[in-house]
Symmetry: C2
Subunit: 193 residues, 2 copies
């Protein structure tokens, strides 16, 4: 017996609640109540709240990778458009959550001054995402859709960072406008002159 439902339910509930409330404002008990799981089960599946938080990030990243898989590997679409599709899809996801922004950005901001574990985790996640985008940007460059002297990794990091800024603002303003404005600017600027 793997008791997948309980553990999975905890993670899904936790991921949603962490996005809304952040880490320190979210008590373990609140997750348990929401997921209708007793405390003993929680500490059976997770050694600590911190480990639980990290596991929630892992679950979040699974979804991100799925999105990247779906968008970035479509050979029928030009590489830059694939990237744009990925972010448009992400914006759509945000909409469904009430424009609460990105879990990585949220936990990264809140915890990176206080927990080396979370700081390193979130930083690593951003690096991984950027690397996948960079691959696609390199393709775009090789096809001539970007200037030949482009550094794909740096351009990808920049994209991720600006996206996170736009996601923060979308969270503050409860609006998708900052997301789309940022994408428009970025893709207009990245194209070779």
């Amino acid at each position: 017996m793997i008791a997948r439902p309980t553990r999975q339910r905890l993670l899904e509930t936790g991921m949603a609640m962490l996005l809304e409330r952040g880490y320190h404002d979210l008590g373990v008990q609140a997750v348990l109540t929401e997921a209708e799981v007793p405390k003993g089960s929680f500490y059976h599946h997770f050694r600590s709240k911190e480990e639980f938080g990290i596991a929630c990030i892992d679950l979040y990243m699974e979804a991100v990778h799925e999105g990247l898989d779906q968008c970035l590997q479509d050979p029928a679409t030009p590489p830059l458009q694939r990237i744009r599709n990925f972010f448009e899809g992400t914006a759509e996801k945000y909409r469904g959550q009430g424009y609460l922004g990105c879990l990585l950005g949220g936990l990264g901001q809140e915890l990176s001054g206080v927990s080396e574990t979370f700081r390193a985790k979130v930083e690593e996640c951003f690096g991984v995402i950027a690397s996948r985008l960079a691959q696609c940007l390199a393709e775009a460059r090789d096809e001539g859709a970007l200037a030949p002297e482009t550094d794909p990794q740096q351009l990808a990091e920049l994209l991720v960072n600006c996206w996170e800024g736009a996601a923060l603002r979308c969270r503050l303003a409860r609006s998708p406008a900052p997301l789309h404005a940022m994408l428009d600017f970025y893709f207009a600027a990245a194209a070779p002159r």
Copy 2:
């Protein structure tokens, strides 16, 4: 008697500690210990922790406005360069704090899902900053340094948002590189083609 020293010391201490630890991880007692102030004084000067947090943001904004005053009103410098100077100065400030990023971004991320007071406050602050930048961008446009069809307010909001993203990443990576990369990209892209 205004007892400026105590109140001021609390705010300065609180501002620094909020930047590092965030709101919920920071106990009132920790601020008191650091500032060497007894609890009675704290609740004499502030009605609650929330009011204190807002006051810390106000103090932070005072410094931001000083920076804007210094940089944006220099008639000897072209408008776009003035803006760049402001952000370079801000990056320098971040360096002195160990690259902990921006207090507005930090508190905005952590609290906007949980406190309407803080959400509105931070959103307002970003709007104010963007408006001041927009004025300067309008000047730049009128001088021909930007395309005539530029919307200064939108371009300013974009700048603020992307800056916050870069500031988050600089906090995560403990490095100024994301800040400068973002500025390079922005100013290269904003110039008319």
